[in-house]
Amino acid sequence: MVLALAASGAQAQITLKSPAWNELSEPDRKVLAPLASDWNNLDGQRKQKWMGLAKRYPTLAPDEQQRIQRQMQEWSRLTPDQRNAARERYKSLKALPPEKKDEVRQKWQEYQSLPPDQKRELAAKPPPPRASGRPPPQPLRTPAPAPAPAGQ
């Protein structure tokens, strides 16, 4: 019985409410429109997350809302490992002081202007060890990412 209970815990994500696209409220459908085609393939846990995000969407600044709309579909099509890797990196960058964050944004712009060969060369290198000794999260996206199943 204990094993059965433990197994049911592992299936937590399918026990949450999993509304179909046409069961969503009109405002939620409007916010989550980029996910419309993938929505019915998401599990209950992912749907709940997106619905929670849609509820908070109106509180964001217009430029933040635009960025979310722009990236929502791409995000939902990443693999769970890619999403987790991105979250880990986001958390590490979020912890930087504001001036360092500005510098990272500037570095991203500079990186965009690097020649493609140099970018490929950089992408082929193994990730350098972190100062903390903690291994970096895997996997990272290489220049040609493969499409992945819809996710959270």
């Binding site: 209970l5 026990t15 890797a85 991105a86 990196r89 930087l96 990186y111 996206r141 290489t142």
Partner: protein, 132 residues
């Protein structure tokens, strides 16, 4: 209790003792039988929830049988455990949902694109040109 009350009480006791002594043997026998039946009936009174809690905590009501683990009670216990486990996994799943919701909201709204967090070339380049 003052002296007058004590005296009154002693008089009542005296009258009761005298009355009891004058009872016929048949009446005494019937009274004994009635007392025995009344005491036997006490054991059949359902145990209250407080008494069950005491018994479950290691105590036991004097003169009462212990909590019997009948199949119905086993089933009740299993159902209760199942409900608790279900409640816990729902709570855990919702916690995870809220955590991802908070994180993803800020990640997607941030002014760095998703690629900046996933591009291995950028991560390598950042680490060699930027101290963080």
């Amino acid at each position: 209790m003052n002296d007058a009350e004590s005296l009154f009480a002693r008089k009542i006791i005296g009258h009761l003792d005298q009355g009891a002594a004058e009872l016929r043997s048949g009446t005494l026998y019937r009274l004994q039988q009635a007392r025995a039946r009344a005491l036997a009936g006490v054991d059949r009174v359902p145990v209250s929830s407080t008494e069950m809690a005491v018994a479950g905590a290691g105590g036991r009501s004097p003169g009462r049988p212990g909590l019997q683990l009948t199949p119905t009670r086993w089933l009740g216990a299993v159902l209760l455990l199942g409900a608790l486990a279900f409640g816990y996994q729902q709570w855990h799943a919702m916690q995870e949902v809220r955590e991802f919701e908070e994180l993803d909201l800020h990640l997607l709204a941030s002014d760095l694109p998703i690629d900046a967090y996933l591009d291995r070339g950028f991560q390598n380049w950042l680490r060699t040109t930027f101290d963080y």
